[in-house]
């Protein structure tokens, strides 16, 4: 049996899906589009459940809606599970009336009943259930209330069958019947298709004919509305009429949300508060947590004065067991140094993800989109671009995908192009490592300045690109402003857990493999002589000669230094940005068994060149993963190449300008 989970955005779909399936889920993509598809099995049953995109309607205008529509008809959904935010029941039932028209059996999960009372809303579900001819179950996805009841209802088939509810006035129902009976037998979901013909839905026009068209026009004239407007109005009229009997609302004045918004959306305070909040996020992540954890974890891997460390310990073990120095070096200076360099940042990534998840689920993120839209709109972006930008401080891949919610094509294009400028969690290690070594106690300020520069660059590039390439285009912004909610612990935990696990997995796979490759290339010469640091130096290694081939590119960025090691490490940012640090760590270990900045090889770095190098790494082409996501979202290679070229050129110019300062000072 297949159950399709349908509901508006923010209705609690994700929370319910997690409750229903536990950890039993698979995340993929809908065929041909980069919209996430989640499938799972309902706990204690063999019922397949598919999570569909959050939508408000089954109209033909957005990809999300098209995916949702197709799935209903092509995959033979047995039951629709329609989740509704009971605090916005009127708007939510609009989608329900469309789902019911498909003729597929539907169960409504009336969510968020835990906050109904405080909202002054009383819903008589028996009356509502009778009026709709649908089984309705009150749940709280967040608290897990009544979920068992919901599961057993679906499992046992204990719900009302679809009764082909008539919701329109007689004359419109008559027209629907007429259209239905003109179809030949092979057409499923006749009622749905008939309504779509009245709406002039382009996907159903092949079923239309002249007679039906003129009958539709009669109705349009009678009601003085075009078909699309007519059907939407009649749906809402029907919903209003049934809610009159089943829902009582006591009017609420000055809710907590309104009071909070008085401050958080205040004309003068909103933007300072926003900057302070984001500053706090990075102060906590980079400053406070970073200072205490990075060295600690690093000493666990590589040892310090008080702790032996995993790397040196393994090296000793291997040598004592009669292993060769080469294999000992591979383990301790290759794998442990490379993977460890990235793992140092796990605590910070956990903190960053936690804070972002809280910002998102509390409803504050929607406020930021709301008040920044005015600014972003001027710069060719949408307030909704903020979501990819903030998600992007986690990872560019889901961030680029989340640009889908931006309706306007140009704004979406620009957002995809600019999202990788936001320092993602993989760039965080680079930022933290350099700024804490070179800027000490003001390192969090330096990190924060990089995020600010990122934002400035995004706005500026947006402005310039808009003026040059995306002239005179209209765009729209339609978004819900949800109420403030206390973040759910479970929800935040799962979100952070999944993302952190993905980060660790990368350290265990990509970073692991590349650490071995970098160790190999830096430990051997072209004639396969082993770099022992005495007779044969790392400057003769394969890696050094590769790095020397393009160290000219980084000449200005590094303040007039030709460094094969820094160059070859920066290039590896294409694999994964944290690989830059991994590579530097491996090279430093192989060269003189030191931590990165204690090593002779990286001793040329000064605060200024450190800043320039960070700037280059942050703004240049993102990792392969992000680049291929960009290609998917753009839909072609040409735009992808243009974007990557633009990013890298910009990064080079900025980095070089900063590096030039160093060059001038030293002359």
């Amino acid at each position: 049996m297949i159950v399709g989970l349908y509901g508006n955005q923010n209705s609690g779909k994700t929370t319910l899906f997690n409750e229903l399936t536990g950890s039993n889920q698979k995340v993929g993509n809908w065929p041909g589009v980069t919209i996430e598809k989640k499938e799972g099995r309902i706990k204690g049953s063999d019922i397949e459940i598919v999570d569909l995109p959050g939508i408000y309607s089954l109209s033909p205008y957005t990809l999300e809606e098209e995916v949702s529509r197709k799935f209903l008809f092509e995959e033979k959904v047995d039951v629709i599970l329609n989740i509704i935010d009971s605090t916005s029941i009127e708007r939510s039932l609009y989608l329900s009336t469309q789902l019911l028209e498909t003729g597929i059996d539907t169960v409504i999960a009336l969510n968020m009943v835990d906050i109904l009372e405080s909202h002054g809303i009383n819903i008589d579900i028996d009356k509502l259930s009778d009026a709709l001819g649908v089984t309705i179950i009150k749940i709280s996805a967040k608290n897990g209330t009544n979920i068992d009841n919901l599961i057993s209802t679906i499992k046992e088939g204990n719900y009302k069958k679809n009764s082909n509810l008539k919701i329109y006035p007689n004359d419109v129902e008559k027209l629907i019947n007429e259209i239905s009976s003109s179809f030949n037998e092979s057409i499923d979901n006749k009622r749905f298709a008939s309504v779509k013909i009245i709406e002039h839905d382009r996907a159903f026009q092949i079923l239309n004919n002249e007679i039906l068209e003129s009958r539709s026009q009669d109705i349009e004239k009678k009601y003085d509305m075009d078909g699309e407007q007519l059907i939407a109005s009649l749906r809402y009229q029907f919903i209003e009429s049934i809610l009159k009997d089943s829902v009582k609302r006591t009017k609420r004045e000055n809710t907590i949300t309104d009071k909070l918004d008085k401050i958080l959306l205040n004309k003068y305070l909103a933007i300072p508060i926003f900057i302070v909040i984001m500053g706090l996020v990075y102060l906590l992540t980079v400053g406070v947590v970073g200072r205490y954890t990075v060295d600690l974890i690093d000493s666990l891997f590589n040892g310090s004065s008080s702790i032996k460390g995993l790397g040196p310990l393994l090296e000793e073990l291997i040598l004592n067991a009669g292993g060769s120095p080469i294999s000992a070096s591979l383990v301790s200076r290759g794998i442990i140094a490379g993977v460890g360099a990235v793992c140092n940042f796990i605590p910070q990534i956990i903190v960053l993800f936690t804070l972002l998840a809280i910002l998102e689920t509390s409803g504050y993120m929607s406020r930021i989109s709301f008040f920044l839209d005015r600014v972003f709109h001027k710069f060719g972006l949408s307030g909704k671009s903020l979501v990819p930008f903030i998600v992007g401080s986690g990872c560019s891949v889901p961030a680029i995908m989340s640009c889908r919610t931006i309706e306007d094509k140009d704004e979406r294009h620009l957002s995809i192009l600019l999202t990788p400028f936001i320092p993602c969690n993989a760039k965080l290690p680079i930022i933290v490592l350099f700024s804490s070594f070179f800027f000490g106690s003001s390192s969090w300020l330096v990190s924060f300045s990089l995020y600010l520069i990122a934002f400035l660059i995004i706005l500026l590039s947006g402005y310039i690109l808009k003026k040059l390439f995306y002239k005179g285009h209209e765009s729209t912004f339609v978004a819900e402003l949800p109420e403030y909610k206390l973040p759910s612990f479970k929800y935040v935990f799962k979100d952070v857990y999944d993302k952190t696990l993905a980060f660790i997995k990368r350290a265990g796979t990509i970073i692991f493999i590349f650490s071995v490759i970098i160790w190999f290339l830096s430990s051997f010469t072209w004639r396969f002589e082993y770099v022992d640091g005495e007779n044969i130096l790392i400057e003769n290694s394969i890696l050094a000669s590769i790095g020397n081939a393009f160290s000219w590119f980084f000449y200005f960025i590094l303040g007039g230094n030709n460094s094969w090691a820094a160059s070859v490490s920066a290039i590896q940012g294409l694999v994964a940005k944290e690989q830059v640090i991994s590579s530097m760590s491996v090279i430093a270990k192989v060269s003189d068994n030191e931590a990165i900045f204690n090593s002779q090889i990286f001793s040329f770095f000064t605060p200024i060149t450190a800043y320039a190098y960070m700037v280059f790494n942050i703004f240049s082409a993102p990792c392969i993963g992000a680049i291929s996501t960009m290609r998917k979202e753009f839909g072609n290679y040409k735009d992808m190449f243009k974007a990557v070229l633009f990013q890298t050129l910009l990064a080079w110019v900025l980095g070089s300008l900063i590096g030039l300062v160093q060059l001038l000072i030293s002359i």
């Binding site: 605090t87 407007q229 729209t476 912004f477 402003l481």
Partner: protein
């Protein structure tokens, strides 16, 4: 861009003309962006619906409106295409 005027109860105009706290009834639409029009219909902005202006973004745009028991943000330029009559 349109000129801003102050509308009194009973007067007709565009949704974008309203001030914070004013309530109005929707009379009709005039815009030629089909996707936007459908989106607004889907979100419940149909003929006869009552809309209240709830919040205005710190920079003056977009605007948060309340209708059908929930809140929705729109840009002023998109609200311009909605004809209304002030009721309160």
């Amino acid at each position: 861009m349109q000129k801003f005027k102050t509308l009194k109860v009973g007067e007709e105009g565009h949704l974008s003309d309203l001030k914070r706290g004013q309530r109005c009834v929707v009379l009709n639409f005039h815009n030629d962006n089909n996707a936007l029009r459908r989106r607004l219909l889907d979100m419940g902005i149909t003929k006869g619906v009552i809309i209240e202006i709830k919040k205005i973004a710190p920079l003056g745009d977009p605007i948060d409106i309340s209708l059908r028991g929930y809140e929705l943000c729109l840009r002023k330029e998109d609200m311009y295409g909605i004809d209304i009559r002030v009721v309160e």
